[in-house]
Symmetry: C2
Subunit: 91 residues, 2 copies
Amino acid sequence: MNDNIVCIGSKPVMDYGTAIQQVLASSDSVRLKTRGKAISHAVSAAEVTRNRFITDLKGKSINIGTEELKPETGRSRNVSSITIRLKKEVK
Amino acid sequence: MNDNIVCIGSKPVMDYGTAIQQVLASSDSVRLKTRGKAISHAVSAAEVTRNRFITDLKGKSINIGTEELKPETGRSRNVSSITIRLKKEVK
C-alpha cells in the first residue's frame, strides 16, 4: 500500500485532474478522498482523469462511509464520505 | 437481475431512505441512480439506509460513469453519474 491521497474540495474539477496526474506520474495509484457535497466533485475528478488525462488506467475501487463531525460547540452530525482509488494496474 | 431503481434527486435524503425501504420490502436489491450534484445525496441515502433503516444489508457495489447531456439547443456537456446497488445477500 503505497498510496497517495488527493483531498477533493470545492475548486474547479480540472485543478484536481492536474493534481491526480502529478501523483500518478510517480506512483502506481492515487486515492481521492472527500465528504459531504464535494462527493460529486470527486466522482467528476475521477471521470475526467480516466476519460481525458490518463486513459489507460486499469483499476478502480470505490468505497463509501459515514464520518462523525464534532464541532467545538453544538451537537455532532454525520456526513457521508467517499474514497475513490485509481490504479495503473488491475491489482 | 431483478433490480428496482430509485432515482435520487434533490429531495431530503430521508425521503429516499423511505423509498429504498419500500423497494427492499419486496425485492432482494435496489439500485440508486443519479448524476451531477445529487451524487452526494445518493451516497447519503445509501449510508442512511445501511446505518439506520436496514442494518443487515450484506452486499454493496458502486459504479461511476459519465453521461452526455444533449440539450435541444446549445452544445452537449458531460455529467458524472453514479449507481449504488444495495443487496440483501452477498451474491
